[in-house]
């Protein structure tokens, strides 16, 4: 007998893989990782828990890069579209990395941990590509770039109850942590990098700890959160939550053929920096207007928009859906779509082509959901 050739490489596992299985998770492949898409209660229950109480997500599959050295700020300023110069130690920033032609390499968050010490958190499926790309941009800069993706586990604690769940588990002053701040300190007795960030549209935290300590931190958070209504939540709920909050997902709203101005990320693109990769093209896009624009859609008829469905107006195709779902919070079918720039007026009616039939939809403001203050 010949040996069976290996056709698919083994999926990577986060440090929480066994715990997910014990919790009854349904596991799926995502970006080369074996990840929980939902637990036994289902996506709707997990989604509701995050909106009303709290949810706990394993996002250890995401990539983490250390960027250190005297030129760390100058290097980042060259690579990213946002401006890292004004960042103070303890602040985080959302940004995009672009190719010279303006298309997105990835979207990411950078954390300023020390004067010449940054951490970038990137999308799991883009980790290798991003690292290679950034490494290729380092010449002339006194900076060291280190891929720490397999050294850190990452847990997201999200929802209105997140702060009260976390408070007894850390000596860090959470009230002194505004949105997009980051601190080092103990969480559940484990040294952590704690940030007030997330991908759900709710208040919440992301907790980065050494890979091998991730299970004990996860378990401590689950136990402490249970009386508050916290539930473990999978990638399914993560997607419906971010979509209601109209946050872009790489591979849907952003890709190498889409620039951040088309995606409506203007405030994260600082064109008056002296230089950065993609600047010239983005400045021209800004001056001439993008050739496509992201819109939010609410379906008026019956049906759910899905990625790839055509957007029609007066019988002509004017765009394409990038993400869509039945919004658990709103009880309506919603979607994000790219359309020709003349068709972005809020309130305007369009049709989504669903299985060959045009279904009435209305352009609405993004985000679809905004948390009560």
């Amino acid at each position: 007998m010949a040996e069976t050739p290996v056709t698919t490489p083994a999926l990577k596992q986060t440090p929480l893989n066994n715990l997910h299985r014990q919790l009854g998770a349904r596991m799926v492949e995502f970006g080369g990782w074996d990840m929980p898409v939902q637990y036994s209660g289902g996506i709707l229950e997990e989604h509701r828990a995050v909106r009303e109480a709290a949810g706990l997500f394993d996002v250890s599959h995401m990539g983490e890069f250390e960027i250190r050295g005297p030129d760390a700020v100058a290097f980042l300023s060259h690579v990213i579209t946002n401006d890292p110069t004004p960042l103070q130690i303890g602040q985080a920033q959302y940004t995009v990395i672009c190719y010279p032609h303006g298309g997105a390499v990835d979207d990411l968050i950078i954390f300023k941990l020390g004067e010449d010490d940054f951490l970038a958190v990137v999308n799991a499926s883009n980790t290798e590509k991003d690292f290679e790309w950034m490494q290729g941009q380092t010449s002339g800069f006194n900076v060291s770039l280190t891929d720490r993706s397999l050294d850190y586990g990452l847990i997201a604690l999200q929802g209105p109850a997140a702060v009260e769940i976390l408070r007894p588990l850390t000596s860090l002053d959470l009230d002194a942590m505004p949105y997009y701040s980051v601190r080092r300190g103990p969480v559940t007795g484990v040294e952590a990098i704690l940030s007030r960030t997330g991908y759900t549209g709710e208040d919440g935290f992301e907790i980065m700890v050494a890979w091998d300590t991730t299970p004990q931190v996860w378990q401590a958070l689950l136990d402490a959160g249970a009386p508050h209504g916290l539930k473990p939540a999978g990638l399914g709920a993560r997607d419906t939550l971010r979509l209601e909050a109209a946050m872009p997902l790489y591979g849907h709203e952003l890709d190498a053929d889409t620039n951040p101005l088309e995606c409506g990320l203007n405030r994260f693109v600082v064109l008056d920096k002296p230089e950065f990769v993609g600047r010239d093209v983005l400045a021209a896009v800004k001056a001439n207007g993008p050739t496509k624009r992201l819109i939010g859609l609410e379906v008026v008829g019956r049906g759910i928009p899905r990625q790839g469905y055509a957007i029609m107006k007066d019988g002509q195709t004017i765009g394409t859906v990038t993400s869509g779902t039945q919004s658990p919070t709103l009880g309506k079918a919603i979607g994000l779509a790219y359309v020709q720039p003349d068709y972005t007026k809020v309130g305007a009616e369009v049709e989504v082509l669903i299985r060959g039939a045009g279904v009435l939809a209305r352009i609405v403001k993004r985000p679809f959901y905004k948390r009560p203050k």
Partner: protein, 129 residues
Amino acid sequence: MPNVPAELKYTKEHEWAKVEGDLVRIGITEYAQEQLGDVVFVELPQPGSKVAYMKNFGVVESVKAASDLYSPVGGEVVEANSDLESQPELVNKDPYGGGWLILVRPDDPSALNSLLDADAYSAFLDSLA
């Protein structure tokens, strides 16, 4: 293991068929609804329209994705379950009862004999595990 009622017939696409006099009631199995997760939308044919054996007759959508439905028999749709318009979750809660999909008058009632019985469908589910 998911419930597989002995009196029903099954397809490998996870639909069930139940003979009710000269009509056939059709739905999806407990295994299918478990795999789909929370059902949030169901699209069914109008009464009076025709469905064909193992051809797509509608769609059931979870939060994450749309899945086609295949008819275990060819024939004319007598009734579609209109409760699912406002309560698609019945497909999850009661897949063999209130979550039924369509009622069909089969062109050829003997065609049901070609479907899987409960034992064969259970064995098929085992083979997927």
